[in-house]
Structures are given as structure tokens and as C-alpha cells.
């Protein structure tokens, strides 16, 4: 038996297949997220180590660095945790010992504030310049033909005409 689909049936089926596919993928993610993994002490150590950088292995977080020096740092974190230190106290200990570079971000104080405020200031300034530029350009010509570029027409002819108009403008 041959089942004939109407075009609309095709479309609806395709859309739902796509949604089903995306959702089933992501549902897997949600399920994995929902399980609470057991938390051995190594995980507690890594949770703090992840936020620290040793001075020798630049740009490698402490939790994934394979060097002996970093293994010793991790052992130190374990000792501190066993001694009842909090996460903040342990991080502060490393800052006191090795300086602010031990943290994954500069502390929010003094000169370091610049790292946090300069990018948003520049971005907002750029957005403001762009907005002013667009406003000054914004002279809507009512005579302009409104045509959506994604209209479902075979617009070879329009594209060719546009090319022609563009070339004649030069």
C-alpha cells in the first residue's frame, strides 16, 4: 500500500520530527543533569582547585594540571579541607602565599576594577555611537518599495535587476 502525503502533512511531519529529534537529544541532557553524582573528597578538592592557578603552569587550572607541583597544591587543599577550612579561607591562603595571580580572576579591588569596567564602557560607547549613526541615517523614504528578502518567490529576476541598478549607481 502506498501512503500519499499531502504537502502540508509532509511539512507538519518534518517539523515534528525535527522537534522530537532536538527535544530527545536535550532530554538526555536533562536526565543526566538530574542525577546527583556521588561526591568523593577528590571532587571537593577539585571544586576548589578549579578556581586556582599555580604560578608555574600558567593558564592551566589547578584541577586539571598534571604536574607534581600542582598535585602538591591539591594535596594541600585536601589537608585544609580535612582541617575544617572553608573554601574562601583556602583560596585566601593561596592568595596570601602566592599573590592574586593564584585566583582565576583578579580580585574586585583597586586597579583590578578596570578589567571589569572597561569592556562594558567601550561596548556601551560603541552601541551609543552606532545608535546615533543609525538615527542620523534613519530617513525613511516612503517611496521605497518594501520587499522581504526571504519572500518565497523565485527572485532571480529581482536580483539581476538589483545588480543592474547597483552597477548603474556607480
Amino acid at each position: 500500500m502506498i501512503i500519499k502525503f499531502r504537502p502540508s502533512a509532509y511539512k507538519i511531519t518534518s517539523i515534528f520530527l525535527l522537534i522530537f529529534f532536538l527535544a530527545s537529544l536535550i532530554t538526555g541532557v536533562a536526565a543526566a543533569q538530574g542525577d546527583d553524582p556521588a561526591g568523593p573528597s577528590a571532587d571537593e578538592v577539585n571544586a576548589i582547585a578549579r578556581q586556582l592557578f599555580c604560578p608555574v603552569c600558567e593558564n592551566t587550572p589547578l584541577d586539571v594540571c598534571a604536574t607534581q607541583a600542582c598535585a602538591q597544591w591539591r594535596a594541600l587543599i585536601r589537608e585544609k579541607l580535612a582541617a575544617g577550612w572553608s573554601e574562601e579561607e583556602i583560596k585566601q591562603y593561596f592568595v596570601d602565599q602566592y599573590g592574586a595571580r593564584a585566583l582565576s580572576e583578579p580580585p574586585r579591588e583597586g586597579f583590578n576594577w578596570l578589567v571589569y569596567i572597561v569592556p562594558p564602557i567601550l561596548f556601551v560607547a560603541g552601541a551609543y555611537i552606532l545608535y546615533r549613526g543609525l538615527r542620523s541615517w534613519n530617513q525613511v523614504d516612503e517611496q521605497l518599495e518594501i520587499s522581504s528578502a526571504s519572500e518565497p518567490v523565485d527572485d532571480d529576476y529581482m536580483a539581476q535587476l538589483e545588480d543592474q541598478l547597483n552597477s548603474s549607481r556607480k
Binding site: 522537534i19 541532557v29 553524582p37 586539571v64 535587476l161
Partner: protein, 685 residues
């Protein structure tokens, strides 16, 4: 003897480059075309000369000539031939020569094109390409010489010099130090050349842009000439970045592919300006707008390419002292400073000529949205650049060293990337010149409506992370917009011409390569976004020490420690290889072999993960430690990386899209003129 020949060929190429600059300028100002032709020939000569230099270096690398310091530094007897040869770009001196060789190849290729319609560009393209080439060759000749040899005095003192120092005799070490183990991987064989191909290719559009500025030919001719160059450059750079990520995922052993390391960011920055440029040149071509901005973008891209090349191999930005002690650091910064100043001065000089031919008429037109896209890309660039140089500034000003790590970049760039994704969905729906909320809404409502089902399903399934839900909605929205646009265009053509849908699809791809190639690239980015959201938001990990046959669980997965073998291999490694069983929902589904390689020559370890990869997730296992001799207990670190495979799938889609967009036309000149003839006829009718 051969080393002298290699060095001599490099030195002669340097002189030839300088001659090319002088001859082109002399011919230009004295109006003597023969001199311009001579400069072109000189440019062409650089390629065979540098090929000779490179061939000699490759010979040394391949045949254990450890008296050459570079060879001793980056190779060893235990390295296989393919790794010894690819060590050409494994160290600073060799990679600079590789850069120059690529530059000479591209500059030669571009000088071989037909210059009939743009003769005035030729001398300036030669000048700009040759100045760039001469700079890199000067670094090789005076600072980082890959042909320098080792000379011995007495019994212990060994110095590095090109020519024999008085009293010195050639020193032949028995073996080399060998390449950093992390670089001994197939990914590292391909990743740097692709990155460098991207870097060097961007010099060509820059050379044409500056030629246009100098000659005053400020129409969009330079953009049309370099359109495909730019696309290829962008493709190579993109693939270089993706392969770098893949290498990090497979070799660095930290469960991810992108660590916001300054070296990664240095390669990412020219990609950002290049992407902005690719979008904004379309506005210039279609509407005659943003000429000044396009010039600024290509200039920035060029200087970021130089900055990236410098940072990729030197690492001197890690501290003020390293920078001050580095011989090439100040030279690179001087070159970047000079080229940036001169280029921007030229833009200012031509500012009036570069004014727009028309005005932007709508805040929602496609050109306005492209401009917004540029703003977001520039926002990401600012974050990246500032994050990379801030530690240096902090150390200079306060004397305090700081780390600007992943949390800073992720927090600052996350919303900007989301904005880019949203624009990817909206911009294709808006029209050039004029769009309103009404026209946009008319095009967008169907895909927007359908996309809402995705977050609804996710919430019903129990997902509560707002960022992830929003991200997945964005992905669904852009996917539906893009697929819907494809569908409507294919259906329209199929109905109008009575063609089969597949034939109509093929026709669209082959006749509107740029547009539909761009859409395919967007689909690739969407796939990659799926991978990024998966790993950034949902990655989980655990670590545990297991006795033989014990298990450790993570979500629905668990792994069992089955066996550990420790043995030496011929290429100078000591390998500790674990055999682990992988279980999902209690069922054994796979067996993996995470291992730790220890390289005797460099005394460095390398952690190779065992990975079970599906489109749903990756189960990624690292062997962290083990009990020596008995091997009864071993420590494993386990990651669950949801959806990360879509990162790599997306890069393939991305590649296909760029190939579609950049594929050369059969005869563009003929096609354009024939099209115009048809249109003229149609207009007359």
C-alpha cells in the same frame, strides 16, 4: 655547507623583497612600467627561494642533523619521520620560516592574476606583501635563525651561532631534546598550518585595501577582487581554531576544548574581525555603505594576525620580564604600531572619499542588523583583547601579577554570543534597505511559534536552567528560520519551474552560493552552539580511586577498572594504559583505554583520554594516577560532556557551507555581463 645555503637563500629572499618594494615605488613614481614588472618578478622569485630554504630545513629535520640548533631543539631520534618533518612549525624559528614561505606562495599567486582592470593596484600590492614578507624574513635572519648551528669550545662550552666563532668547532649532539609531547599528535600536525594559512591569507585583502586607499580607488573593486580570498582565509582560520579545539580535547586531558588561554584568544581575535568584515562587506557591495568601517576592519584583522602569530609561538605576554627579555617582542610591537598608524592615517586621509553613497534608511533593515552583528563581534573582541593584555598592564602599573581566566571571558562574552545567535535568526528575515516590525513579524512568526515547543518540552522534562532553556530556544528558532527559508525558496522555484524539489535545491545552492552557503554556515554554527551549551552548562565530573573491578558512577554512566598495563614503546615513551568498562543504566556498552604517556627525552607526561562519543554525549575518562608495580588501585577522573559531538559535526557543516560560498564561478565576468544583458533587455521590455 647546506645550512649556509639555507641561510643564504633566506637572506637573498630578504634582499629580493626589499628590491621588490624599491622597484615598485621607483617604477610608480618615475612612471616606468618595466620597474613595476621587475618588482612583480622579484615577488615571484621569493617563492622558489624560500622553497629552497624550507627544503633544506626539512632535510635537516628529517635526517637528525642535531648540529643545527633548531633541529636539536624540536626533534629527537625517537620521533617518527612525519613528526620530525612537521616540527618545521613546532618551534618559533621554523614557524616564522613557514609563515614566510606561505606568504611568498600567496603573494606570488596573487601577482600571477590578470591585472588588466586594476593595474594601479599591482605595485602597491607588491609593496605591502613584500614589506610584510621582509619583516618576517628579517626576524628569521637576525633574531630567530632556524639554520644557526651549535659550536663547541674546549670540552664543555657550547654556543649557538650561524657562522663559526673563532676557536669553535661544530658540535654534534647525539640526540635532540624532542618536541614538546603535547605537540606530538596528528591534530598538531594539521592545526598550525591551517591557522597560519588563515593568518597569511588575510594579508592579501589587506594589501588590496591599502592599495585602494593609496590609489584613491575607493569603490568596492578591491572587495570584489578579494572576496574569495577572504572567504578562504576565514575558512582556514576557522578550521585551524576548530582543530586546535579538537587537539585540546584529545590531548590536553582536561575534559574540554577551549580554555580561554591567551594563545587561543590570539588566534580567535582575527577570526572575530574577519567575521565582522565578511558581513559588513556585503553591506558595501549591496548598498555602498560602511566603506570606512570595512577598511578599519581589514586593517584590524591584519594587525591582529601579526599579533596572533607573535603570541602563538612566543608566549611573552605572560609577564613583563619575559616580554622585555624577548628579542622579537619589541620588534613585533613596533611593526604592529607602524602598520596600524600608517593604515589608519590612510583611512583618515581618504575619509571623505569613503563616505557612503546612500544613507541607511531603517533601523530594522538587514544592513542595520549586520551592523549590530559587527557591534557584538567587536564587543567580544574588546573583552578578549582586554583580558589578554590586562595582566601585563596590571604588572606594569601595580607590580602585581593577576590571572584573567575562563570565568571572566565566559561571563562577559556569553550574552554577546547569545545576541549573535539571535541576529542569525532575525537578519535573514529582514530586507535590504527597509524593514519594519510588521514585515519582520510576518516572516518570523511561524518559525518563532514552532520553536516555542522546544523550551516547553524541556521544562516539562524537568530542565530548570534558564540560560540553557533560552539557549536551546535560540538554537531551535535559528534552525527553523534557516530551514524554513530554504524550504520556501526551494518550493517557490519548484512550483515556478516544475522542477523536482532536489533539483531546485541544487539550483539554489549553485546559483546563490553566497547566500545559501552562508545559511549552511549558520546551520554549522547552530550545531556548534548545541555542543557549547551542552559542555558549558551540563558538564559533570567526578574523580575516584578504584581497586581492580571496582566501579565509579556519573549520572547514568559508570566505569569499571578492569586492568592496567605499563610498558615501554620504541618511540621513547613509557605507557601506562588502563582498560576500563563503560556501563550505561547498568548495561556494559563499551571498553575504553585511557592512558598516560611519559616521554623520556623531554621528561614530560601526556594524558590521553578514553572517550565514548555519541551525538547525545561523551563519556570521557582520564587516568590520573596508579599504584606502581602492583597496579591494584588507580585513580580516574571522569567527565560527562553532553552534546559535545555537535561541536565537531557543526565544524563539518561549517566547512561545507564555506566551500559552497567560496567555490569559484566558471566564468564570473561572462556570467555577470550576460546577466546584465538579460536584465537590460527585460528592463527595456
Amino acid at each position: 655547507m647546506l645550512a649556509n645555503l639555507g641561510y643564504g637563500a633566506t637572506f637573498i629572499t630578504f634582499l629580493v623583497s626589499i628590491y621588490a618594494v624599491a622597484a615598485a615605488l621607483y617604477g610608480l613614481y618615475q612612471k616606468k612600467p618595466n620597474w613595476v614588472d621587475s618588482s612583480r618578478n622579484a615577488m615571484l622569485l621569493t617563492f622558489p627561494l624560500l622553497t629552497l630554504s624550507s627544503a633544506i630545513l626539512l632535510y635537516f629535520l628529517g635526517t637528525h642533523h642535531y648540529e643545527v640548533e633548531y633541529v636539536a631543539h624540536v626533534t629527537s631520534r625517537t620521533m617518527p619521520l612525519y613528526l620530525r618533518l612537521t616540527a618545521w612549525w613546532g618551534g618559533q624559528a621554523g614557524s616564522l620560516l613557514f609563515w614566510s614561505w606561505l606568504m611568498s606562495a600567496f603573494a606570488s599567486a596573487v601577482t600571477l592574476r590578470k591585472w588588466d582592470r586594476d593595474r594601479e593596484f599591482l605595485p602597491w600590492v607588491v609593496v605591502i606583501s613584500s614589506v610584510t614578507l621582509a619583516f618576517f624574513l628579517a626576524l628569521n635572519i637576525f633574531v630567530e635563525n632556524p639554520f644557526a648551528r651549535l659550536w663547541q669550545f674546549g670540552t664543555t662550552e657550547v654556543v649557538k651561532a650561524m657562522f663559526p666563532p673563532p676557536g669553535g668547532f661544530l658540535y654534534f649532539p647525539a640526540d635532540g631534546q624532542g618536541l614538546n609531547p603535547l605537540l606530538r599528535h596528528p591534530g598538531m600536525v594539521i592545526h598550525p598550518p591551517l591557522l597560519y594559512l588563515g593568518f597569511v591569507s588575510f594579508v592579501i585583502p589587506y594589501a588590496f585595501a591599502l592599495s585602494a586607499l593609496i590609489t584613491g580607488r575607493t569603490d568596492d573593486r578591491w572587495i570584489r577582487i578579494t572576496r574569495r580570498w577572504t572567504l578562504w582565509a576565514w575558512l582556514f582560520l576557522s578550521l585551524g581554531l576548530v582543530l586546535g579545539g579538537r587537539w585540546a580535547y584529545d590531548v590536553l586531558g582536561w575534559g574540554g576544548y577551549w580554555g580561554w588561554d591567551p594563545v587561543e584568544i590570539a588566534a580567535f581575535m582575527p577570526w572575530l574581525t574577519g567575521t565582522a568584515f565578511l558581513h559588513s562587506v556585503m553591506i558595501q557591495e549591496k548598498r555602498g555603505l560602511l566603506k570606512q568601517w570595512n577598511m578599519v576592519l581589514i586593517i584590524l584583522t591584519y594587525d591582529l594576525v601579526i599579533f596572533g602569530t607573535f603570541l602563538t609561538r612566543s608566549g611573552v605576554l605572560s609577564s613583563v620580564h619575559a616580554f622585555a627579555q624577548s628579542a622579537i617582542g619589541p620588534l613585533f610591537f613596533a611593526f604592529i604600531g607602524i602598520t596600524l598608524t600608517v593604515s589608519l592615517a590612510l583611512v583618515m586621509h581618504r575619509w571623505r572619499d569613503l563616505k557612503a553613497e546612500v544613507q541607511m534608511t531603517s533601523l530594522l533593515s538587514r544592513e542595520a542588523l549586520f551592523l549590530l552583528n559587527n557591534l557584538l563581534l567587536m564587543g567580544i573582541l574588546i573583552v578578549c583583547f582586554w583580558g589578554v593584555i590586562f595582566p601585563l598592564i596590571s604588572e606594569l602599573v601595580t607590580g602585581q601579577k593577576v590571572t584573567v581566566g575562563p570565568p571572566f571571558y565566559e561571563r562577559a562574552t556569553g550574552p554577546l554570543f547569545a545576541g549573535l545567535l539571535l541576529l542569525m535568526g532575525i537578519a535573514p528575515l529582514s530586507a535590504w534597505r527597509y524593514s519594519t516590525l510588521k514585515t519582520l513579524g510576518r516572516s518570523a512568526w511561524k518559525p518563532a511559534l514552532v520553536s516555542i515547543f522546544v523550551p516547553v518540552i524541556l521544562v516539562i522534562q524537568g530542565m530548570r536552567n534558564f540560560g540553557a532553556i533560552f539557549g536551546f530556544w535560540l538554537i531551535a528558532f535559528v534552525t527553523f528560520v534557516t530551514v524554513y527559508d530554504f524550504w520556501r525558496s526551494v518550493r517557490a522555484r519548484s512550483r515556478a519551474r516544475g522542477d523536482h524539489m532536489l533539483a531546485s535545491f541544487w539550483h539554489l545552492l549553485t546559483t546563490r552560493r553566497r547566500r545559501y552557503g552562508g545559511y549552511i554556515i549558520h546551520l554549522g554554527v547552530i550545531c556548534m552552539s548545541l555542543g557549547i551549551i551542552g559542555i558549558e552548562i551540563f558538564q559533570t565530573e567526578t574523580q575516584g580511586t578504584l581497586a581492580l573491578n571496582e566501579q565509579i558512577s556519573l549520572g547514568r554512566y559508570s566505569m569499571s577498572y578492569d586492568q592496567l598495563d605499563i610498558y615501554d614503546v620504541e618511540d621513547g615513551r613509557n605507557v601506562a594504559r588502563a582498560v576500563v568498562g563503560v556501563y550505561k543504566d547498568g548495561q556494559r556498552i563499551d571498553e575504553l583505554y585511557p592512558r598516560r604517556d611519559f616521554f623520556y627525552d623531554s621528561q614530560q607526561p601526556m594524558t590521553i583520554p578514553g572517550v565514548r562519543s555519541t551525538i547525545e554525549d561523551d563519556f570521557y575518562i582520564l587516568l590520573v594516577d596508579w599504584e606502581e608495580i602492583s597496579t591494584q588501585r588507580a585513580t580516574f577522573k571522569v567527565y560527562h560532556n553532553p552534546l559535545v559531538k555537535w561541536m565537531w559535526i557543526g565544524s563539518w557543516v561549517f566547512l561545507v557551507g564555506t566551500l559552497v560560498a567560496a567555490w569559484p564561478d566558471k566564468d564570473p565576468a561572462y556570467n555577470t555581463s550576460s546577466k546584465r544583458r538579460k536584465v537590460r533587455a527585460a528592463v527595456k521590455v
